[in-house]
């Protein structure tokens, strides 16, 4: 098939890092080209170069046979490249159609009628049903994603870049996205899909390339991809991702690959070790929270959680999950209803009291709420015990104790940081999450709430985080794991609860038919 765009020897350096190192790739019309790689492998930099956000230090982009440099986002759009960025790039205060009209010539009046015609054209092509005059802030994340794709296609893109488009989507949203990608592919558009999920790569991809440390480590072309079994694909990809093929000494890269292979093979959470004849550790009875602007409050949520149990919480983002997590952690007041921990009423207690009783919380807002980026890793590891012994005595900090404690945790949890004194904000997302998990899943933890514990992590770090969760459960910790990734919940949970409109729509046992029942509950239908 014809080549829509190609990269030739693209190199991009940042201070101290070579983000892209002589990368050459070809993108074919009517093909979904999946890019895989760990965090920091250079995938997003590659998108930035094609989108005109960054200029490469060396090499050229070849489009329609002409070598050129993409000088700006506008230039990229003019060349027929559409980009759906990893971060949302829409204006929430504008309507759908206004967002799509952005970018016209300043002195002209808004050409609304023409824009609506184009909107209907794209809506038919993509099979979406959006109201062009709906304010963007009122749309679900999946719908916002559809608007992003429309924006990327607005000026007849021949090459569509999708940078981790599924990370915020529900299973239904992912299925819709897949249908749209197939529609576009059949119309001859070249698509580049960046994802961390191997399942999506196999389901949507025609060709797979793997990036490692800024270089193209290799790939699987369409013929080979069709011919291979899934296990063969996965083995090839892991080998490429961690570079055993290049004959490197089995240092870090080899260790990573071996570790990941073990993690992928391991059953995270064994079945039926939960002893329900004992009283539950946590009992939540008809608990509600107060509504706040743009947030869904809890409405009479009741459930019980046993020691060693993993209760997964599924649901479309924004159905009260955050309130649920914060309420149990003690960060949000309970309005009606009661919480009991080990038979003791804790409805009124705040964070310090609940923490003292063994309640732990890993937030989804790792850098905002979970850590203080400017403070060293060591301080972040005792962040929730500031002022308390053994780290503080009468208001005086015992730095020696804090640093010794930090070194132990860094070692034990394999936190990759230059030192205990490095600011937490400098660590990669996976390592920040290791800091949080090390801090929260400590020896005194009895109940832990984890809000989207793998969100934004690459495959390796995702498996590590899930493994930690399994280990904690085996130790007797009762865990509440909130996630929008249903596959993940199916893998680790004993039971799965579904949040819908601030209510716990139902809890199902995680057995063979669980996934269908959970999906039904997620749409607001009954559990039957």
């Amino acid at each position: 098939m014809s080549i829509v765009a190609a990269l030739s020897g693209i190199t991009k350096r940042y201070p101290g890092v070579v983000a892209l190192d002589a990368v050459s790739l070809e993108f074919h019309a009517g093909e979904v080209h999946v890019l895989l790689g760990e965090n920091g492998a250079g995938k997003s930099t590659l998108v930035s170069v094609l989108a005109g956000m960054q200029q490469p230090d060396e090499g050229t982009v070849i489009i329609g046979g002409n070598p050129l440099r993409i000088a700006s986002p506008r230039h990229s759009i003019q060349l027929g490249i559409g980009t759906v960025f990893q971060r949302p790039s829409l204006v929430l205060s504008l309507t759908v159609i206004e967002n799509l009209m952005l970018g016209g010539s300043w002195l002209r009046r808004l050409a609304r009628a023409a824009a609506l015609r184009r909107f209907r054209e794209l809506a038919t092509l993509l099979g979406t049903h959006l109201d062009p005059d709906a304010p963007l802030a009122g749309l679900s994340l999946g719908e916002q994603q559809q608007v992003e794709i429309m924006r990327a296609l607005w000026r007849d893109a021949k090459l569509l870049l999708l940078d981790e488009p599924t990370s915020m989507l529900t299973p239904q949203g992912v299925a819709d996205l897949g249908r749209m990608m197939r529609n576009l592919r059949d119309r001859g558009v070249a698509l580049i899909l960046i994802t961390h999920k191997l399942g999506e790569a196999y389901e949507f991809g025609d060709r797979i390339s793997v990036l490692r440390l800024g270089k193209v480590a290799g790939g699987i072309d369409p013929e080979a991809l069709v011919a291979m079994e899934e296990s063969g694909r996965t083995a090839t990809i892991i080998r490429l991702m961690f570079g055993l093929e290049a004959g490197e000494a089995a240092t870090t890269a080899g260790g990573h690959a071996a570790e990941l292979a073990i993690l992928l093979g391991r059953k995270i959470h064994g079945p039926a070790v939960v002893d329900r004849s004992q009283p539950p550790v946590l009992r939540v009875r008809e608990a509600s929270t107060r509504a706040e602007f743009a947030e869904t409050p809890l409405r009479k949520v009741s459930f019980e959680l046993w020691s060693s149990e993993v209760l997964g919480i599924a649901g479309v983002d924004g159905n009260g999950q955050k309130h649920l997590a914060e309420m149990i952690a003690g960060q949000r007041a309970v309005h009606g209803g009661a919480l009991e921990l080990g038979g003791i009423d804790i409805t009124q207690g705040g964070v310090p009291e609940r923490r003292g009783r063994g309640v732990r919380y890993v937030t989804d807002d790792r850098l905002g709420e979970g850590t203080v980026g400017a403070l060293p890793v060591a301080t972040n590891l005792v962040l929730k015990e500031v002022g308390a012994p053994p780290w503080w005595h009468h208001g005086i900090t015992d730095w020696a104790a804090i640093h010794a404690h930090a070194r132990v945790l860094i070692e034990r949890n394999d936190i990759r940081t230059p030192s205990a004194l490095t600011p937490a904000g400098k660590l990669s997302g996976g390592n920040v999450q290791k800091v949080l998990l090390a801090r929260e899943l400590d020896a005194e933890a009895r109940v832990a709430i984890l809000n989207k514990p793998t969100h934004g992590l690459d495959l390796h770090n995702q498996r590590l985080a899930l493994d930690r969760i399994g280990t904690a459960a085996a130790r007797g910790v009762a865990l509440l794991v909130i996630s929008t990734d249903l596959d993940e919940l199916i893998e680790i949970s004993d039971r799965i609860g579904v949040m819908f409109g601030g209510r716990l729509a139902g809890i199902v046992d995680n057995d063979a038919g669980a996934i269908d029942r959970v999906r039904r509950l997620m749409t607001g239908a009954g559990a039957t």
Binding site: P73, S76, V91, N99, G104
Partner: protein, 311 residues
Amino acid sequence: MGGLLTEPFLVSLLYGAVTAGMPLLLAGLGEQMSEKAGVLNIGLEGMMLVGAYTGFVAAYHSGSFWLGYLAGGLGGMLTALIVLLLCIRRGLNQIVIGIAITVGAEGLTSLLHYVQFSRSYPRLAAAPVLALPLLRDVPVLGRGLFSHNLLVYLAVALVFALSWMYRSTYLGLSLEAAGNQPAALDAAGVDVVHTRSLAVLCTGFLAGLGGAYLANVGAGIFVPFMTGGAGVIGIVLAMLARGRPLMVMVGAALFGASLAMTTALQVAGIDIPTDVVQMLPFAVVMAVLVVFGRHSMLPSALGTPYTRGER
């Protein structure tokens, strides 16, 4: 208090409200454009002061009020260039630079005025008045609202022109996006730096124009430090107006009226200490902030520099 409803008091109050409100209206409309685009322009006061000075000097030497307005606008625009270069292009802190601009403008205009005029304060002739036909014969309102310099009517027209521009043009959308989600604007192929630069230069021009009106029409002389907080009130007006030019005009009229109260009360012969009356506008600022401040709904990227590709 029978003096309050007499014609001289009401005419004086309305006329004074327009005269005092004009600089606030122009500066507030300017600030609003910057804030829409995500730039918090704290140096508004400095831009007004420079505009007042350059506007006065031009009008004094040429004898033309229109050249005075033009020079005032350009003076303000030149001052805004500092914000453009340091805050928008280099990403320096907008609050620090804004304060520096105001303090610097106070010193610079005082110095230049002293060098040129020593300690004398020359006066301009009264500004030409265009009394609108028919409307000027309406009792009270005719003399209070419809007998002003041409610039006043143009400023009112500008309010509606800006409302239309924000609502119905690509420029309006671009400004809104630059203030709320600059990355989205960038992704749509519009240069965020250019958009914000345009907004800041317009702010400078309007603030300078307001300053020139204050010196040439409102006072007829230039005195160092003469803006006396007008720029600060302009910033408050823009913040409370929720991006609507019409609300800036309502606010400017309210503050203008409270500023005009001093003269009007003297005209009516009511004896209230001037210190109390002069405090009024600032008491109004506080009261307004307490009542409406919670709902100001500022653009989400206000005050944040934009660098392409940065998180």
